[in-house]
Symmetry: D2
């Protein structure tokens, strides 16, 4: 029988799960924060799994990282100073550094073990980004970093795990956190965050939308299908300057050319336009969503 | 332990599967063609399953049926005569009949058991469509129907199961079949078919694209995320008249208003525009794809 | 792919489970006490499942019912008055009635729905036992029945679900319950109960052993492998008269002949002898086990 | 949710499987013959898995190894020269060496990788047995070794993987193989082999029984429940001298004492007696079974 017998099963809910056949385990360990597994999967190539949730796979990570990084980076006329909160495996940093305008990219991740093991065992993700002179790695808590930070940034990218109930990332999705972000954004600054599934946790997405909007004043949402997340995935941005949504297909393609960014597998002008089309249902849910605060944070329903 | 214990497991490949917790089985039987199951699932509501593959669920079927039907129906200036090949559970017929221009909608499905049991056990799908005076149900083989057909149709919608190797639907995805379709299309006629996953079976999608194009002359593809299919799903159209792709957001919204079509949950002008954005990778695959013929049919890799 | 896609998954622990392919669901419902499912499984024939735990299958139920009933029934010289606590699907009653000495067999089950649906959908289990003139069905709580009972019985057979934490059967495994049983046992009376897995819940088995011993004075344990329970299964008896353990192979075979009992698939003299051999490990665990009381009941570790 | 998410799933048939939660993978590789995995499982401790089938676990291996080795070793009055065919992880060798009569124990395993990795990663299995002066490891094919062998042995123990259709072990279960074994057995020699599940593959067990009997003249079968094999497991012996079946409980216990064998967890005189009790059903199946030959080998039904 040719059937697989080593499986990683990601439970999305107690009654829905994705079974991933795996060829082997490349790394398995526990850091102070979480369990870290890097496996060689049959369908998705290498997979980084934190606390049992798929974070990135070598087969499809470009969907996520290109969708997270480029819409805001392209919208900003001259993104020089970049802050990444989270982003452990280095794919976000890699995409950020494609933009030749970038002078300094600070990445603040709480778990050095994720960074180290991703570099060692999934170098396809960071592709040398950590060795770029412009990159600076800070190991620490993102919330605390933002609160104590005296620098200013043109683009802030929040690339942390989902806001699970009682989980470590919950306070990175509240109004107080985004007020801190607002303070450290430069004049035309833009912040973007991954924002969970627009379908399975639509209300959570909508709350993040409302939360960023309440802190930044202007916000927007977009979505991209991420195969390994089994869902159309949401992203939320807030801006003190340009609004990524209004860029035309041609403007996006022009800027990509001007910045010499080639070889993207997913993102281009036409894709940019399509990303910002939210479904009718979702727009209704956003209307009624609440704002998450430190006292009343949002979380994914599991 | 609150964990589910009745599961339906849909294997996409021998090494990837979706586990669906089910509350109960509503209907389970075998027709001459296939096994038919209608279950009450924990996350997707009622689910129609044919030969172990999810076809429609009450929670998310609007994504599929609206995406399959409306782009071509809206593109055609006056769709009066409609042919549906397949479409057993009646969701496609239901969406077709929303268009007040329709005078006659013929649905040719090979398996009366699917139609009957869907009507009885999942009436949410057809919502009375089979009782509409304009609807006409033919029980029979779609290929044979097309070959013997003397009528002409404005829009033909192919809503059949995936082209599995050796499966019953394979000859509904070949050049010969689409040449038959071309013959029975009216002057401005358009045909559209579901076209498998644009990601997991991208080459199969691309082949369907090339096949329809080779028979009809002009063709196009679009995609929509279908939650229960665990994938961004492909659709391919071929046209003798208008091209759905060139409609602007406003044109689509105008036509919806003029035809009095309200209450769609997914489709509208903005969505129409976004549907037609294929990824860079996919466009490359389409370039190199072959044409499927009766002798060399295409099939999904399983 | 010939692989099954409808599965019943019995979790023994959160980290160990048996996946049973099922062909179809025969009955699925909820009584006031529990969920009741009767499925047609690929490997075990029809399966009765209560609250997600397999109770009986048509393929292997003889192991369980013969092992539960005959060792004590054969040990008692003239079992005329029998009480069964539980025993819903009727297999225990069926085996009891094989003994021609039996004049009256009272079965007290709390869930009439299990009895009714088993009779209708799994008649292979009871094989008409409920229609035997000697059989008497009482629908009610076993504990209360014993406490209010003024009759005397030669053999009492406790055939109820496992003592799960907080579950309905917990008070049928305590010293107080067995003191009640002792009161209603006739002079040479013997009581026997299923006693969970001797391996996966060895301590629970050992506690039942000690509990019955503390109430009855003399007790013993035996075990039989039950395929569908995925384990060597334990049984515990307490006796005011003969001790089943001391019967020789020939004595058992003689009594079976004298009572005209043929056609058993599992039980005979040699098997009787083998049943009473507990492993060295288990005997050690029994030595140290506690007695379960209403205030400190035992339960299976899940 | 505390549920496991790394699973090893052992399919017994396409419609029945055991899901084992695993904490981590200790070793994973491929030898020339097979895939080798050693995992740390939640319920069974370390597990050795060959080609997806569980071979030994640290929690329950004593059932298997004690049942395989001691009944024949105890039956032989003075087992000095021992041959083990297979036995890769060293548990069989370990049990053999407990008998102080043993002067030389030759183990012939085809896969040095299994031996090496078991020694390194599961030293609990061999517990130094490979370093015993009496032990001799031969890497090679068991069938060929027997055919070319000029030594004589008192006890031969066949501890190889199941006879899967087309699998490498099939020719170690045929009449021709056992004729070779007969030739190399000393005057009072006894051979024993694991013989698959007496329940799920009862006919295969019965064939092995008939096959050994046809080659050796006198044979017998016994069974022990092996938790990690999810079944009552069969063993078949053939003898030119004493018959293990006729030993009494006291004789076994006496010999264990005389040989100074203590600390067994499973095997003792009472257990010995119980092992030899086969079920009524099984005895019927044995009656009708065929003999396996090189041209018509037996195999487990999968």
């Amino acid at each position: 029988m040719s059937l697989g017998w080593k499986w990683f099963i990601e439970y999305q809910t107690p009654h829905s799960a994705h079974m991933h056949g795996i060829k082997g385990v490349i790394y398995s360990g526990r850091s102070r924060m979480q369990s870290i597994d890097i496996v060689d999967s049959c369908e998705y190539g290498k997979m980084l799994i934190l606390d049992g949730k798929v974070q990135s796979t070598t087969r499809d990570e470009h969907f996520y990282h290109e969708a997270l990084v480029h819409p805001t980076m392209i919208a900003h006329p001259r993104p020089e100073r970049i802050l990444i909160i989270g982003g452990g495996e280095g794919g976000t940093l890699r995409e950020v550094l494609r933009h030749p305008t970038v002078k300094r990219a600070v990445m603040v991740d709480i778990d050095i073990e994720v960074v180290k093991n991703s570099k060692t065992h999934m170098p396809e993700l960071s592709r040398g980004a950590f060795d770029d002179d412009r990159a600076e790695l800070v190991v620490g808590d993102g919330r605390r970093f933002v609160e104590g930070c005296r620098s200013r940034f043109d683009v802030v990218i929040v690339d942390v795990t989902d806001p699970l109930e009682g989980g470590p990332a919950q306070l990175l999705y509240t109004k107080e956190f985004y007020e801190g972000i607002k303070r450290i954004l430069g004049e035309d600054g833009i912040v973007v965050t991954q924002a969970t599934s627009v379908y399975y946790s639509a209300y959570c997405f909508a709350t993040i939308y409302r939360t960023v909007e309440s802190a930044l004043g202007r916000a927007g949402g977009y979505q991209a299908w991420i195969p390994a997340y089994d869902s159309m995935w949401g992203f939320v941005y807030g801006t003190k300057g340009p609004d990524p949504r209004v860029l035309s297909e041609n403007e996006v393609d022009d800027r990509l050319v001007k910045r010499g960014i080639r070889d993207l597998k997913f993102y281009e002008g036409a894709t940019h336009r399509a990303l910002f089309t939210l479904s009718k249902e979702l727009k209704t849910i956003i209307k009624d969503a609440a704002v998450a605060t430190d006292r009343n944070p949002t979380f994914m329903p599991i």
